[in-house]
């Protein structure tokens, strides 16, 4: 198995040993090519493999033992599944003859993960092991990517068979469509040309497909304003004048107004999630929709689509560019939609993202994110936890390149950001990796600080510490008459001391004027650091579209 992984080009495995996988660990001990990162919890291992995959584009690998080791991976697997991230999880299993006997550390992990993996395997015969490993990597990384779990009983690991790794994986029930149908692409362009108020709405698919440069080129040729989902951050340059920001529940006024008033949506690798559409019946009432997605099930799932195109976005955009680049029609189209661009700019001008900065008062979390952006010059990899920290990190940092914003978009997993940052740092040792966290989320996988310290992975955790589960409290404030049920965290640990107890560095800012200096100091430290910033507890995320309301009904600051 170790040999198969090495032959497949795997260089690092995130894992945690146990009885059922002793044989693999014994082999790993001898291996010089395969690096193993010992985590402190199996959930951390999966998120690290996920962060590694998102930052690098390669498939992340994770190895755990049977029973509790395997069940601890479920949240991580579901996180990767919802966001289409290629990872392969190897779990040990009790010996074949004991399966079904409620043996010690037995869990039916194939049954448990069936609905949250792209596919999973129970290996019943050592002869099949190499082929299944090959298939697992093939399935995880192709088509619409996703997690694959391979469950291996101890006896299958212990017995020896001749090693034959197939050159190619062949799965007869699996044929993803990569090439967009040329006729459909032509009709899409024809429809586009008739329209006056087009919008490009793009998401995680653009990043997975590696289509960023094509996207920028195509939007530029026709001068179409672009909005991205949370998952699409960085797919289109955040500093480009055509960029309107994120749309949806906490999207910009500009993006939500544009999508609600446009007459054509080019949906490129996005799936019309409920956090994006708001009230579905009133979503984009004037628009025809062209939907490009590699997964046919995404199309026509939530909204009716006028022109569906199944294919790899990169291929489809190349075809679209070919049909438009350098043509007179493209130039006149760009000219024709000038008033629309003006309108979009006006929305952006009149209602920009904003907050009330207090230079001498309480620290505003938005200001902290802006300072992170300024200090890193937008060159860092940012991971987030889930909640207010996630939304502010999305709103107030401009992501210019793909794979620089890593966040649990679909499942919304608190405790994702820190291990994901560690995984990203393993993938990109030269990069500055910053986890924008909250005081609630960071406590969900805080044990991984030991991992970061052990491997000297210099991730920086900026804790926007408001002493509360801020996003849930925001809902209680707005929709539950201010009854803060179980959302105040009165006993928050001293994160500075805690970091030091683990052997990391700890810093704290309590006043606005300290923020810059403390961030600078924290970022300059050689190893991992916790930067605890006591922020204004009353600050809320705006704009906000209440759940079930149409996108035009935004609550503004």
């Amino acid at each position: 198995m170790v040999r198969a992984l090495t032959d497949l080009g795997v260089d690092v495995v995130f894992g945690y040993p146990g009885g059922a996988v002793l044989n693999i660990y014994d082999e790993l001990f001898k291996s010089t090519k395969l690096r193993h990162i010992l985590t402190r919890h199996e959930q951390g291992a999966v998120h690290m493999a996920d962060g590694y995959a998102r930052a690098s584009g390669k498939t992340g690998v994770c190895l755990v033992t049977s029973g509790p080791g395997a069940t601890n991976t479920v949240t991580g697997i579901a996180t990767a599944y919802m966001d289409s991230i290629p990872i392969v999880v190897f779990s040990g299993q009790v010996p074949t003859l004991m399966i079904g006997n409620d043996a010690f550390q037995e869990a039916d992990i194939v049954g448990i993960t069936r609905p949250c993996t792209k596919h999973n395997y129970l290996v019943k015969d050592t002869k099949d092991l190499a082929r299944i490993i090959k298939e697992a990597f093939f399935l995880a990384s192709t088509g619409r990517p996703g997690p694959v779990l391979v469950d291996i009983p101890k006896d299958v690991l212990a017995s020896a068979e001749e090693y034959v790794l197939p050159k190619e994986a062949h799965v007869r029930g699996y044929h993803p469509t990569y090439e967009g149908h040329p006729k459909q692409v032509e009709s899409a362009i024809r429809l586009l040309k008739e329209k006056e108020r087009p919008v490009i709405y793009t998401g995680g698919g653009a990043i997975l497909s590696g289509a960023s440069s094509e996207l920028a080129e195509f939007a530029g040729i026709l001068g179409i304003p672009v909005t991205t989902t949370l998952m699409g951050m960085g797919a289109f340059p955040g500093t480009d004048p055509l960029y309107m920001g994120m749309l949806g529940m906490h999207g910009t006024y500009c993006a939500n107004m544009a999508i609600s008033h446009c007459d054509l949506i080019l949906a490129l690798g996005a799936r019309f999630d409920d956090r994006v559409t708001g009230k579905i019946d009133e979503f984009a009432p004037h628009a025809k929709i062209v939907h490009v997605d590699i997964d046919p099930t995404s199309i026509q799932k939530n909204v009716p689509v006028h022109i569906p195109i199944v294919g790899d976005l990169k291929d489809v955009l190349k075809k679209m560019i070919k049909l438009t680049k350098g043509t007179k029609e493209a130039a006149s189209f760009r000219e024709k939609i000038t008033p629309w661009r003006e309108q979009v700019r006006k929305w952006a001008r009149t209602h920009p993202l904003s907050y009330k900065h207090e230079p001498k008062g309480k620290i505003k979390p938005q200001y902290v994110v802006e300072q992170i952006y300024a200090l890193t010059k937008g060159q860092a990899i940012i991971t987030t936890e889930v909640g207010q920290n996630q939304m502010w990190a999305a709103q107030f940092y401009k992501y210019d390149s793909p794979r620089t914003f890593l966040s649990s978009g679909g499942l919304g997993t608190m405790g994702y950001g820190f291990p994901a940052a560690i995984g990203a740092q393993v993938a990109m040792p030269g990069k500055l990796v910053v986890d924008v966290a909250g005081d609630g989320s960071i406590q969900m996988n805080i044990q991984e600080l030991a991992t970061a310290v052990q491997y000297r992975l210099p991730v920086k955790v900026v804790i926007l510490n408001n002493g509360a589960l801020g996003m849930v409290r925001q809902w209680q404030e707005l929709f539950y008459q201010g009854k803060y049920s179980q959302t105040c965290l009165p006993r928050i640990p001293d994160f500075v001391k805690l970091a030091e107890a683990y052997g990391a560095a700890g810093f704290r800012a309590t006043r606005t004027e300290e923020v810059k200096g403390v961030l600078k100091k924290g970022f300059a430290v050689d190893g991992p650091a916790f930067i605890d910033i006591l922020t204004d507890p009353n600050e809320m995320v705006y704009p906000m579209v209440p759940a079930g309301a149409p996108l035009t009904k935004m609550l503004l600051v």
Binding site: V110, G111, R114, P115, K118, H119, L122, L139, V171, R172, G173, Y174, D295, P296, T297, Q300, K301
Partner: protein, 173 residues
């Protein structure tokens, strides 16, 4: 609307739960489902009867196709098909009702496959309407137990859903 969907799947453990899990997990409805091996022992065929509006049926077909263990999916609705279901019925056979049971068995071209002192077990095949009609007529006599296989369906004419037999010519012999 009701749809009959024919699905070719890998004949391996866990496939049935992948398919049924897909239906339950997404709130789709299964009216009947039957599975058995095909000529190729590595492939099984499922016949699923389900219902839903066009959008739901489209999702069902796409989601089935998305399963890695699914090789081929065909919606047989709107196609000319032969539909059959097999039913086994245990019915009361008192001296005064026996002639009526025998008459119905004759009319419906059913078969009595087991006889006990006061009970017949009857085997009958037909499309859904025929099976329902048969059961309705037997009801007043007293049905003790019914087992139905669920519908299986095949297209009329030369069109096939299955991958062709690897030895079609010998097969024709």
């Amino acid at each position: 609307m009701r749809h009959t969907i024919s699905v070719l799947v890998e004949n391996e453990f866990g496939v049935l739960s992948r398919v049924s899990g897909l239906f339950s997990g997404r709130g789709f409805n299964i009216e009947s489902l039957s599975v058995a091996e095909t000529l190729d022992p590595s492939v099984s065929r499922m016949t699923i009867v389900t219902s839903g509006n066009d959008q739901i049926i489209e999702q069902i077909l796409k989601q089935l196709n998305k399963l890695i263990s699914v090789i081929k999916v065909v919606d047989l609705t709107g196609v000319e098909t032969v539909d059959r279901e097999l039913v086994l019925v245990k019915v009361n056979a008192e001296p005064e009702t026996k002639p009526e049971v025998l008459r119905l068995v004759d009319i419906f071209r059913a078969k009595i496959v087991d006889v006990a002192p006061r009970c017949y077990t009857i085997e009958m095949t037909g499309d859904e309407a025929k099976v329902n009609a048969f059961l309705q007529l037997l009801r007043p006599i007293g049905i003790r137990e019914v087992v139905r296989t669920g519908l299986v369906s095949i297209a009329r004419g030369g069109n096939v859903v299955a991958q062709a037999d690897k030895m079609p010519h010998q097969g024709r012999g």
